[in-house]
């Protein structure tokens, strides 16, 4: 069933100059049941992600985050508008493999993305699909396992690993493609706090040290603090876009979209309501602690 009004693709060239990912007026709807109008899951998304950026995407359940993520490596194709990856249009079938090797995806459930019953065989899966020679695959696998700190588990069976370790193996499996960009779709949602911490540290390092462009979809506000830029989605639209400082300083707007502020910001707001002179944009735990200390120092005991 076609959309009643397909939006014409935006004319023009290859999007923003140094953007890894670009969405232009992207609309999407899943196939509806007989006789129903398909609801628009994505409704006119315009965004671009620059090279080496760390972008976090927030939004309540069902706001279309996963649907958007799947457009970035041509798993889903736009109904209206277009998506460019390194200037390649995802609708062009001949480019699908090039697009997928440029943009890796890590999903929520580590169990459902591990293909092989030995860790290193699983990491080798993507380069094997790309037809790399076997010495090259060996090199990529060793390197990827080293980056995620799982080198000594190469011969292990994935089902005996903890959730966090499995997710690190899944990240290694994507890294072995040597992608320019990795999209993480709620990678920590099924992990315990320790596993969460290790996965987030690896994501930060990928962006900081290895220069991989990272898109992190999450509903843990504190994971979003470290990003360069936050995008808030609601009902298939981008409703807020800015630095973490800008976004989190508008808690009422966030609440309207069903989102919290990080614990640090909530604490500072509470203190401010009680008459303490604290800033509202101290996001990390350290900044927050410093802000409270200096506020206490100013106030006579």
């Amino acid at each position: 069933m076609e959309m009643p009004d397909i939006i014409e693709p935006v004319s023009g060239g290859g999007g923003v100059p140094d953007a890894v990912l670009t969405a232009e007026n992207l609309t999407y709807s899943y196939r509806a049941r007989e006789g129903e109008l398909p609801p628009r899951v994505l409704d006119g998304i315009d965004m671009d992600v620059g090279r080496g950026a760390f972008v976090a995407v927030l939004g309540h359940n069902g706001s279309g985050k996963s649907t958007l993520a799947k457009h970035f490596n041509a798993v889903l194709l736009p109904v209206g508008g277009r998506v460019l990856v390194e200037g390649m249009d995802t609708s062009d079938e001949r480019l699908t493999l090039d697009i997928r090797r440029a943009v890796g995806m890590v999903f929520q459930n580590p169990d459902n993305q591990i293909v092989a019953s030995v860790v290193e065989e699983d990491v080798a899966f993507a380069p094997e699909n790309l037809g790399c020679p076997s010495e090259d695959i060996r090199r990529r696998v060793d390197e990827a396992l080293r980056v995620v700190g799982m080198s000594e588990y190469g011969g292990h069976s994935p089902h005996l690993l903890s959730g966090g370790q499995k997710q690190r193996v899944a990240i290694a499996g994507v890294l072995a493609m040597e992608p320019k960009c990795i999209v993480f779709d709620e990678p920590t949602a099924m992990l315990d706090p320790r596993g969460r911490g290790s996965v987030i540290r690896i994501i930060r390092r990928l962006c900081g040290e290895l220069g991989v462009t990272v898109v992190l979809i999450t509903h843990h506000m504190d994971e979003a603090i470290g990003a360069d830029r936050l995008i808030v989605m609601s009902d298939g639209r981008i409703v807020m876009d800015g630095t973490p400082r800008e976004i989190f300083s508008r808690p009422d707007a966030l609440a309207a979209y069903g989102l919290d502020t990080p614990e640090t910001v909530s604490l500072l707001r509470g203190l401010r309501e009680d008459g303490f002179d604290v800033p509202l944009d101290a996001l990390t735990v350290d900044e927050c602690a410093d802000a409270i200390l200096s506020a206490l120092a100013v106030r006579p005991a």
Binding site: R100, I114, E121, A124, E128
Partner: protein, 268 residues
């Protein structure tokens, strides 16, 4: 209890048997089974037992693991043996009501039981010493020529390796669902066959639903990692036949010939 299932269990190791090419081991297993069914008479069985014992020794698989693989099959072995005891005609040595036990029956039961035990041990030895991936690679490579007649060999091998990968995951999940249902008062242990079968329904339905969801997510994850069928796909660990494999295959080819000789010697 479900965790004891040992389908396709692999014990990593570096023994000469472990290091053989999976194709060699697959061919050897087929030869071994064929020889087992050719064998007649004590001498041939003794030869087969020696071959099996040699392989078990060389692969350093523990006797306990081997026993563990035979245990689930014990009932089938016993039933087969008992049927053989009762339904073979010959010299009657004992009579129980209408059933007569014959000398020939006892002998054929003993042969049948040892044949089954050797059959199971032999095939388990294959899975104990070969990683599931090497095994499916071997099968894919051996069946490779069948691609010419449009048999989806790569797809079959991929399905097999994914099935092996998900067996432990699904067993774990079954355990979890069973515990959850038990906690709500479900009873799987008592009642007749029909009642028990009905009690399984609340386990199977969630298990199936979750398996379909998993399959869906796995398919997306595989596509995301550039999977596009077997075409142009390379492997990290290429299968390679060494001189050791050639020697093993030559020995394998000799086995049926030897069995023919021992069969004749025992006058069968």
């Amino acid at each position: 209890m479900l965790r004891d299932v040992t389908i396709g269990q692999y014990f990593p190791g570096g023994t000469p048997i472990h290091r053989l090419d999976p194709r060699t081991k697959l061919v050897w297993t087929v030869i071994f089974i064929t020889a087992l069914f050719m064998a007649r008479g004590a001498l041939s069985y003794a030869l087969m037992l020696c071959v099996l014992a040699g392989c078990v020794f060389a692969s350093r698989v523990s006797a306990r693991a081997l026993m563990g693989s035979i245990k689930p099959m014990l009932i089938i072995i016993c039933i087969t043996a008992i049927l053989n005891v009762f339904f073979t005609r010959g010299e009657v040595i004992a009579r129980l009501w209408v059933i007569s036990v014959t000398r020939e029956g006892l002998i054929s039961a003993a042969y049948m039981a040892s044949r089954l035990v050797m059959l199971i041990s032999g095939t388990f030895l294959l899975t104990y010493t070969t990683s599931p991936i090497a095994l499916t690679d071997g099968i894919e490579s051996l069946l490779g020529p069948l691609k010419k007649i449009r048999l989806p060999v790569h797809e079959l091998a991929m399905m097999m390796s994914i099935a092996l990968r998900f067996i432990p995951t699904l067993i774990e999940e079954t355990d979890k669902i069973m515990s959850a249902q038990k906690a709500r008062g479900a009873d799987f242990e008592t009642g007749g066959l029909i009642k028990r079968a009905k009690a399984l329904l609340p386990i199977l339905i969630p298990l199936f639903i979750s398996a379909f969801r998993r399959a869906d997510e796995l398919a997306v994850a595989m596509e995301s990692r550039c999977y596009h069928g077997g075409e142009g796909r390379t492997r990290m660990k290429k299968l390679r036949m060494t001189s050791r494999d050639c020697a093993a295959l030559a020995l394998g080819a000799a086995l049926p010939a030897l069995i023919v000789v021992t069969n004749m010697l025992s006058g069968a």
